[in-house]
């Protein structure tokens, strides 16, 4: 399924008074980077910003997110127009440093969860303690049996990266919970 026709296109919640709302995030370039932590400095140079070294850390700069989600694994998000430059930079790096940079942009779709109750909404269907996440933390986890990557970008703003095929389910799940919070049930 191509990114132009994923299930969440054009969706929005009409809940102006809800303490938390969800919306699809604009399309972006996404990469999965595997490289030895010893060579992180070279990868950071190719990426153009410092890549976080500790699992769970999230480094954000305008339009870009870089999360360390495994001992040798990073998840990178960048604006679409920067995709070619990033691929070229890592392609040049490949000559001297073994790594793998995989474009996963067509696999996933982003959902933003915003509002004072955002953490509570997510906690309804995530087993670990969402409220205990720090700002700029990113973790791979499970939401109602669906594997996701969860980013906390601000106190009241989260972002989920979920596969296309699961996104419809996650959307309706979160929409239902947001509705419950709006009604105060």
């Amino acid at each position: 399924m191509r990114q132009e026709e994923h299930p969440l296109i054009g969706r929005s919640l009409d809940m102006p008074h809800a303490p938390a709302t969800i919306r699809p995030v604009e399309d972006a370039a996404r990469f999965n980077l595997r490289i030895s932590p010893d060579n992180l400095a070279e990868a950071s140079a190719a990426w153009g910003a410092i890549l976080p070294a500790r699992i769970g850390e999230l480094a954000s700069s305008p339009g870009r997110l870089a999360a360390c989600i495994g001992p040798d694994e990073w998840f990178l998000i960048a604006p679409l127009e920067e995709q070619g430059a990033i691929e070229a930079a890592f392609s040049a790096l490949y000559a001297k440093t073994i790594h793998s940079l995989v474009d996963v942009g067509h696999r996933e779709v982003g959902i933003a969860i915003e509002g004072p109750a955002a953490a509570d909404v997510l906690q309804s269907c995530i087993a670990f303690e969402v409220g205990a996440m720090a700002m700029n933390e990113a973790r791979r986890t499970i939401i109602d049996r669906v594997p996701i990557i969860l980013f906390r970008e601000a106190q009241e703003r989260f972002r989920i990266e979920v596969w296309h095929s699961f996104s419809d389910h996650v959307w309706h799940l979160l929409a239902g919970i947001c509705r419950e919070y709006e009604l105060g049930v």
Partner: protein, 99 residues
């Protein structure tokens, strides 16, 4: 729900993020062709199945993706400790083992 500490993430996460990987510290014979059928059978299939402290492998499959080792009490289902793959099995005192 069990809470398991992942030594790679350095975070405690619910059991649903993990997958069980069987008994830990089983070294594959360096020269399989020189082993007898009985030795090879033992390597493949014979496990200790203890009542009490058990060293086992777990994988944080819905987190960092890494295998690690854990010491778990099979009676109480309590995790005594977890440690990174490749590290030796920690020496436990009687008191720790009895928890």
């Amino acid at each position: 729900m069990l809470l398991i500490h992942c030594p790679y993430c350095d975070a405690t996460r619910p059991e649903v993020e993990f997958a069980y990987g069987g008994q830990a510290h089983i070294a594959r014979p360096l020269d399989p062709s020189s082993t007898t059928d009985e030795q090879w059978r033992d390597h493949l299939y014979i496990r200790v199945n203890p009542r009490g402290i058990h060293a086992e492998r777990w994988r944080h499959i819905h987190g960092c993706g890494r295998f690690f080792n854990a010491i778990r009490d099979t009676v109480s289902d309590k995790f005594v400790t977890t440690y990174k793959a490749g590290e030796p099995r920690p020496e436990l005192t009687e008191k720790e083992g009895a928890r």
